[in-house]
Amino acid sequence: MTPALDARALGKRFRRAWGLRDCTLTIPQGAIVGLAGPNAAGKSTLLALAAGLLAPTEGSIAVLGCDPLREPSVLADVGFVPQGAPLYRSFTVGQAIEFARRTNPRWDAMIVASVLGRLGARTKVGALSAAERTQLALALVLGKRPRLLLLDEPFGGLDPFARREFLKLLMDGVAETSATVVIASHVMAEIERVCDDIVLLAGGSVRLEGRVESLLESHRILMGPRRPIGTIRGVREIVRERHSDRQLTLLVLSDGPIVDPSWTVERVGLEELLLAYLAPPERLQPPKPPERLPLQWHG
């Protein structure tokens, strides 16, 4: 099956700086992928390239097997919700739907109605709350029954309750359309909840990618008294070292059970795992002499 998204050595330079560089990435059809990374990591650039809104400076990108710029007909199968869900504010909800229905070759009124729920057709888009506007954007984008759905920071401005409601609608829509979904977001809890795979972008390139489940399974936190680190059985790579005067905390990529009893072994959450891969390498420094208060004599 052709991948939903296939980027090869993809790069995009804006006037001065590279927004994305040497990005090679394949997303299979049917996957739900989280695109994580700090601000200016290249998340939005990658999505805009996939949606055919930007032209690559180097490399290539194929969406459902087609180049989105040369064969724009593929864009009928691609749904893109940019950051902040920009919609025409002077339209009413009904007009926005009518506009989308007339400008898309395919239109599924059932799914639009089920996502919209109680949202009134006569309300002005400009008067909607952030949550309602996101809901409307989701209804519009699912209405075209996309095979690939690109969402750029969809949780922006939503409270935790609204985020969960949005995810419910999104996942229901995905179950209905079996679309491939790429969600760029900072909100790790939601990403961890729904995504099969995660791609971590930093400084315009891919820092880490893999199945969420196997990443969580293969990484562990080790805690123990401070000492020189030799080789630890079951550890393939040390991702991050942290230490106090007495204690050493390692985040490691393991390739087997860690049985050494002098280490306390714990599982790691997705957020901490990604932060560890983002942090600049922090190497072990020679131990500082412990600070002691000068003894004071009380006569």
Binding site: G30, A31, K168, M171, R193, E213, L216
Partner: protein, 181 residues
């Protein structure tokens, strides 16, 4: 502007009517389905009955989401709250309830299927086909009543939940090792 609004309103009403009529058809079909052609050992759930089991997620447990679903089904089977022939909630129902990835639910159900606990019937749902409930299940009520009495006396003796749990698991370990020995 006004004309556009009016024109639109009528089309949205038409849309709502179409949606409602299609829902009505679906309801009728499902209702008829429940009478005809069902296999004897499956009990299709009516649209208006709540699912036999409701899943919940513990995001900090570190246990993979699909495994949590598998474990909850098994636990319900052990306790006898769901039994052979019951229909598990559909993937769509679980997805809409928990806001999780449909693939995850499908994976959990596939895993249960490969263990021989459920069967998936194309287009109808996933049904419990085997049980984990021990044959001693009918003794559970009496045992539970005794346990409640014991718990009450433990509370009177000033034990807190954690001490009670510790005492139970320690005793369980002890008797087990004695049985083995």
């Amino acid at each position: 502007m006004t004309r556009f609004c009016l024109g639109h309103e009528s089309s949205s009403q038409a849309l709502a009517a179409r949606v409602e009529s299609r829902r009505q058809v679906l309801r009728t079909l499902r209702y008829q389905d429940s009478f005809s052609g069902r296999e004897p050992h499956t009990r299709p759930r009516s649209r208006y009955h709540p699912p036999v089991i409701q899943f919940h997620l513990d995001p900090v447990s570190g246990v993979a989401t699909y495994l949590q679903i598998v474990q909850q089904v098994k636990e319900a089977l052990r306790l006898g709250t769901i039994e052979v022939g019951d229909q598990l909630p559909t993937v769509r129902e679980v997805v809409a309830d928990l806001a999780i990835n449909p693939n995850t639910v499908a994976k959990a159900y596939r895993s249960l299927e490969s263990e021989g606990l459920v069967v998936a019937r194309q287009g109808r749902g996933t049904f419990i086909s085997s049980t984990l409930a021990p044959p001693s299940l009918r003794h559970h009520d009496a045992l539970r009543a005794e346990l409640e009495l014991w718990l009450a006396s433990a509370v009177r003796a000033g034990l807190e939940d954690e001490s009670i749990r510790a005492l139970i698991s320690a005793t369980l370990r002890q008797t087990r090792s004695r049985r083995v020995a």
